[in-house]
Assembly symmetry: C2
Homo-oligomer: 298 residues x 2
């Protein structure tokens, strides 16, 4: 199999396993509040590449973590990612009607329910991680919770979203955009790689290597996102394109131009792969995914 | 000092200590995202009775928990309570402009920021609980995280909020309203009492006693809330009153009438106090707070 085909089939396999795990973990019932269970399911099952859980599973494999532990941590990360999309799509935020080719959660269930769906998914992620089923060692579970909260909160993803809202009023330079994206998307991607190391009680230097990899991967991912927003089409993307340019927002592409942005993403992907030398051939799939991230079309 | 005066001064003392602790725990900085730090501070420092952190501190005292541990857990509970108010006040939810006599978070900072403030406070609560500073034993920290997530999520508070939204379309009976309130406000109040027992590694029967106390206290609290919404005035309450009746929502008062609701709240408060026999005089303050909860005017 060629490397990119191998990535595709590994992504698909991981996506199916994580979807199954999330289905097991999502709440269910027929009380008066059943609407939220249905809406959580809708948001989670809307699909997507499931890149973050894939990174959890793949980094966990480096340290021989049990499949159940890795799947639960992967599901938790995807819940946090999904909550962030549900809230980000709200009318008061990005006001998106379409996500992965389907009506967004608030379009389907109304704004109030969508707000609650995000809240419930975020909360569920921490409930899953702190559960003894995720890992026998409570120290490991606490570290998973603490690192995820740090990556997802005001010092990470939510802080990045706040910067993004503020950025609409300002002309950002490349340094500010890099920091914005490091918080907005980079922190959760970095956590996804770190989670495998936490679960495997990996040595500090292994953990640093994975974080350095994830840092470059996250930026490469975001630059490619900006490129796709400029050059992609709505059918491939399953969502509106050209929104950032339309809103006059500074992006990697608006500052660097298409060609330099594309070159930069490729350099970052190579650099990301380079951080994994210590894992030798065990990290081939992580290296391949770095290349996949900049060559994807949606 | 008379019991109610004692409660008042204990509440004030706890409120000041928890506010100070939260101020220490809230993020700060002058980056592009500084607006969210400011808005989190605004939401947290808007005040309130701080009943939930008071319950954490007071139940922790039963088991000789260190002051630092109790304060951190108390701060985490109040962060979750505050996040739920910020989201609940949003235009798509209850659409409230006034909270504790001040503009609500979205009125002051806009809807997008208010959504992010809620998200960040919820996330921060879990970061605080999982931090080794909260308790030396990671098993205790995991249990704090897991129980809070359970109380706050779709099986608890968020589920109750979903029921509340659905209830606007339905004529609920007393059983349904009791379940709704047990989830919407009862679960977090119960957790507040349980947190002290978790921190103190209390025996199962002590924990059950506190949960039974909290269950009755939570209902008494909610019935009194409904009474104040009917009979209180906006000045004392610091928010709009009569909203539920105006919206045609079934409440304890609309079903039981003012007199029976008042009597029921009193019975529940006495019943709550009765669950604490095993703690003898050590639980006097918890008994007093049960009486305070049904006699308060805001």
């Amino acid at each position: 199999m060629r490397p990119l085909d191998r990535v595709h089939s590994a992504l698909e396999e991981a996506a199916a396993a994580v979807a199954e795990e999330m289905e097991r973990l999502l709440p269910d019932g027929d009380g008066l509040e059943a609407r939220i269970f249905e809406a959580m399911y809708y948001a989670i099952m809307a699909g997507g590449k499931r890149l973050r859980p894939f990174l959890v599973l793949t980094s966990a494999q480096l340290f021989n973590v049990s499949r159940e532990s890795a799947l639960r941590a992967a599901a938790a990360v995807e819940m946090v990612h999904t909550y962030s999309l549900v809230h980000d799509d709200l009318p008061a935020m990005d006001d998106d009607d379409l996500r992965r080719g389907k009506p967004t959660c608030h379009v389907k269930y109304g704004e109030a329910t969508a707000i609650l769906v995000g809240d419930a998914l975020l909360t569920l992620a921490f409930e899953v991680l702190s559960d003894p089923l995720t890992h026998a060692d409570p120290e490991v579970r606490c570290e998973l919770v603490q690192s995820l909260a740090n990556a997802a909160g005001a010092a990470g993803m939510v802080g990045g979203q706040m910067m993004d809202l503020e950025a609409e009023k300002l002309a950002l330079d490349i340094g500010a955009i890099t920091r914005l994206q490091r918080l907005k998307t980079g922190a959760l991607i970095a956590y996804s790689c770190e989670a495998g190391a936490i679960l495997g009680k990996a040595h500090e230097h292994a953990r640093h290597a994975l974080k350095a990899y994830a840092h470059d991967l996250g930026l490469a991912f975001q630059i490619t996102d900006d490129l796709l927003d400029t050059t992609g089409n709505e059918k491939d993307m399953g969502k509106k394109v050209g929104k950032d340019a339309g809103a006059g927002k500074a992006t990697f592409v608006s500052i660097l131009g298409v060609e330099r942005a594309r070159a930069q993403a490729k350099v970052l992907a190579e650099q990301a792969a380079g951080h994994l030398d210590m894992f030798e051939h065990k990290a081939d799939l992580l290296r391949d995914i770095a290349r996949f991230v900049v060559e994807r079309r949606n």
